[in-house]
C-alpha cells in the first residue's frame, strides 16, 4: 500500500548523499592517518592510495590484472549460482536426499577454503580455474541454502492450485518454485557477488601469476600498504558495479511485487 510515508529524496539527492559518505570516509581516513592516530604504515594515506589507483589506470597496467580477476569472479559467480540453484531445488524437492546429505553439505561448507587451495591447484592448475573453484565453493553454499529455504517457503495454497491446474514437476519449478524463490535467490546473490570476488582474490593471493590478488600480494611482500589498499579500492569499485547489475536484473524479474509497500512509516 502506498502510504503517507515521507517520500525518499530523489535520485540525484541520493547520489549526492552517497558521494558525501564517500568523501566523509576519505576525509576521516585522511585526518586519522595524517595525525598518526592510525599508522600510515598499516593504513596508507587516502591521497597516496587515490594517486596510485589513478596512475595504475592511466598507465593501463591494472587492466590486465583486473580483467583476469573479473573473469574469475564472473565465472565463480555464474557457476556457483547455477549449481546452488540447481542443487537447492533438487534438495528441496527430494526430501530423502536432502535429509540424508544435509550434515555433509554443512560439513563441506565449514571446510576452510585456504586449506583447500593446494588441492584445487593440483587438480585445476595455477590458472584461473583454481581461483574460480575457490569462489564457487563460497558462492555455492550461500545460494544453495537460500534456494532450499525459498522453495520450502512457497505458499501451500498457491502450490496446490498449480498442481490442480495440471502442473508437472517441471511446470511447478518454472511457474511456482522459481518465481516464489526468486527473492531468496537475489538476497543470496547480493552476498554471493562479494564472495565470488573474495574467492578469486584469495585464490590469486595464494598462488598465481596475475590478477588483483597477485598484485595485492606483491605489494604486501614489499610492505607497500598503498599498493595493497589501492588494489582493494579497485576491487570494491568493481564489485559495486557488478552488484548494481544484479539489482537491475532483480528489479526486472520481481516487478510484480507491490511497490514501496514498506516505506509505510510515520
Amino acid at each position: 500500500m502506498r502510504s503517507h510515508a515521507k517520500r525518499l529524496p530523489s535520485r540525484p539527492v541520493i547520489l549526492l548523499l552517497q558521494l558525501g559518505v564517500l568523501i566523509a570516509f576519505f576525509l576521516i581516513w585522511h585526518v586519522l592517518t595524517d595525525t598518526k592516530i592510525l599508522s600510515p604504515f598499516f593504513f596508507g594515506t587516502p591521497g597516496a592510495v587515490l594517486e596510485r589507483t589513478w596512475k595504475d589506470f592511466a598507465s593501463g597496467v591494472i587492466w590486465y590484472h583486473l580483467g583476469i580477476t573479473l573473469l574469475e569472479t564472473a565465472l565463480a559467480f555464474a557457476i556457483g549460482t547455477v549449481a546452488g540453484i540447481a542443487f537447492g531445488f533438487w534438495f528441496a524437492r527430494a526430501p530423502l536426499v536432502s535429509i540424508v546429505f544435509d550434515p555433509y553439505i554443512k560439513a563441506v561448507n565449514a571446510l576452510p577454503r585456504v586449506v583447500l587451495a593446494p588441492i584445487f591447484a593440483l587438480w585445476l592448475g595455477l590458472g584461473i580455474w583454481s581461483k574460480v573453484a575457490l569462489g564457487v565453493t563460497l558462492v555455492f553454499f550461500i545460494v544453495f541454502f537460500n534456494v532450499y529455504q525459498g522453495v520450502k517457503e512457497v505458499s501451500p495454497v498457491v502450490l496446490a492450485n498449480a498442481r490442480m491446474l495440471g502442473a508437472n514437476s517441471r511446470h511447478l519449478f518454472r511457474h511456482v518454485y522459481l518465481p516464489s524463490a526468486l527473492s531468496w535467490v537475489f538476497s543470496s546473490l547480493h552476498t554471493a557477488v562479494g564472495f565470488a570476488m573474495v574467492g578469486a582474490v584469495v585464490g590469486e593471493y595464494l598462488g598465481s601469476a596475475a590478477g588483483l590478488g597477485y598484485r595485492i600480494h606483491q605489494a604486501e611482500g614489499v610492505f607497500d600498504t598503498v599498493g595493497v589498499f589501492s588494489g582493494m579500492l579497485v576491487l570494491t569499485i568493481f564489485v559495486v558495479l557488478i552488484d548494481a547489475a544484479v539489482t537491475v536484473i532483480e528489479k526486472r524479474l520481481l516487478h510484480w511485487r507491490p511497490q514501496d509497500q514498506h516505506s509505510g512509516q510515520h
Partner: protein, 274 residues
C-alpha cells in the same frame, strides 16, 4: 456401489474420516469429518451446505487428492484418488492466484501446463477474462485487483482447463449480488453445455438450491457427517434470479433451512462449550 453397467460416478466418498493432529503436535487430535459418504453422479451439480468450520473444505481437499483421509477413501470416475485428482478442477476458498503472474497469465497457466504454447494460451485466456467481466484488467497483478476481481480470475483459471469435475469452495462469496448472479448464470450455462460434474460449497442456501440438482447438508463439527440430502427438482435451464420467486423454490428453501438452522445452532453451542 457402481453397478457394472452404470457409468462410474464422478466422485464417490466412502466413509471418509479426517483427523488433524492437535495444534502443538501432541495432546488430543481433532476429528473434522467423521465417516462421510456420498456420491456425485457424472454430470450432476451437487451443493454442500453446513455450518462454518464443519469440514466442507476438508472434504473438497480429499476429493481433490490434496489431503489423504485418515480413514475411508475417495474414488473419482471409478479410480481411487491417491494423488492429485487429474480429472478435477478446484477453485480454492483461500487466495490461490500466483502473485507473480498477471491476471491474464494466471488464467492461461492451466493451458500452459497442458502444453499449449504461451502465446496461444494467452489468446485463449482472453475471452475467459471478459466472460468474468475483467476484459481490461489482463495486465494487472493480483495485488492490484480488488477482492472480488481476484475471485473472478480464479474462476476463469479453474474453468479454462475444462475439468470433468469441478470443485468450488465458496466461489462467489466475495461478489456483490448482481455480479454474483451473472457469474452463477455463466457457470450454469457452461455446465449445461457439456454436463460436467460440479461440487459446490456455499453458505448461501438460496444459491445452493438455485444452482443444484442435489443439496447435501453437513452437520456441525467436530466429527461432521452428512445429515441431509435434498433433490432439487426445479426445471432447467434456470435463471438464478427468477427461480427464487417460484413457490417450489420457497418450499424447498423452508424445508432445508429448518434442518440447517438447527444444525448451525448446535454447532455454535458446541464450539461455545468446548
Amino acid at each position: 456401489m457402481a453397478e457394472a453397467a452404470a457409468p462410474a460416478p464422478a466422485l464417490q466418498l466412502e466413509g471418509v474420516t479426517c483427523t488433524f493432529p492437535s495444534p502443538d503436535g501432541r495432546g488430543r487430535s481433532y476429528t473434522a469429518v467423521q465417516g462421510a459418504s456420498f456420491t456425485v453422479a457424472d454430470g450432476e451439480f451437487v451443493s454442500i451446505v453446513g455450518p462454518t468450520g464443519s469440514g466442507k473444505s476438508t472434504m473438497l481437499n480429499v476429493a481433490a487428492g490434496l489431503l489423504k483421509p485418515s480413514e475411508g477413501r475417495a474414488l473419482s470416475f471409478g479410480q481411487p484418488v491417491t494423488g492429485i485428482n487429474p480429472k478435477a478442477g478446484y477453485m480454492f476458498q483461500a487466495e490461490a492466484l500466483m502473485p507473480w503472474k498477471s491476471a491474464l497469465d494466471n488464467v492461461a497457466a492451466g493451458l500452459e501446463f497442458r502444453g499449449v504454447a504461451r502465446a496461444q494460451a494467452r489468446e485463449r485466456a482472453r475471452p475467459w477474462l471478459s466472460r468474468v467481466g475483467l476484459e481490461g484488467f489482463g495486465d494487472r497483478f493480483p495485488h492490484q485487483l480488488s477482492g472480488g476481481m481476484r475471485k473472478r480470475v480464479a474462476l476463469a483459471q479453474t474453468l479454462i482447463v475444462d475439468p470433468k469435475i469441478i470443485l468450488m469452495d465458496e466461489p462467489f462469496s466475495a461478489l456483490d449480488v448482481q455480479t454474483r448472479q451473472m457469474m452463477e448464470n455463466e457457470l450454469l450455462d457452461l455446465w449445461a453445455a457439456d454436463r460436467k460434474s460440479v461440487v459446490f460449497i456455499t453458505h448461501d442456501l438460496e444459491e445452493a438450491i438455485a444452482m443444484s440438482d442435489r443439496v447435501l447438508v453437513l452437520s456441525a463439527g467436530p466429527g461432521s457427517r452428512l445429515i441431509g440430502e435434498y433433490r432439487i427438482d426445479l426445471d432447467r435451464p434456470r435463471d438464478v434470479a427468477d427461480i427464487r420467486m417460484t413457490p417450489q423454490f420457497l418450499a424447498l428453501h423452508r424445508e432445508i433451512w429448518g434442518q440447517l438452522r438447527d444444525e448451525v445452532l448446535k454447532g455454535y453451542a458446541q464450539t461455545k462449550l468446548r
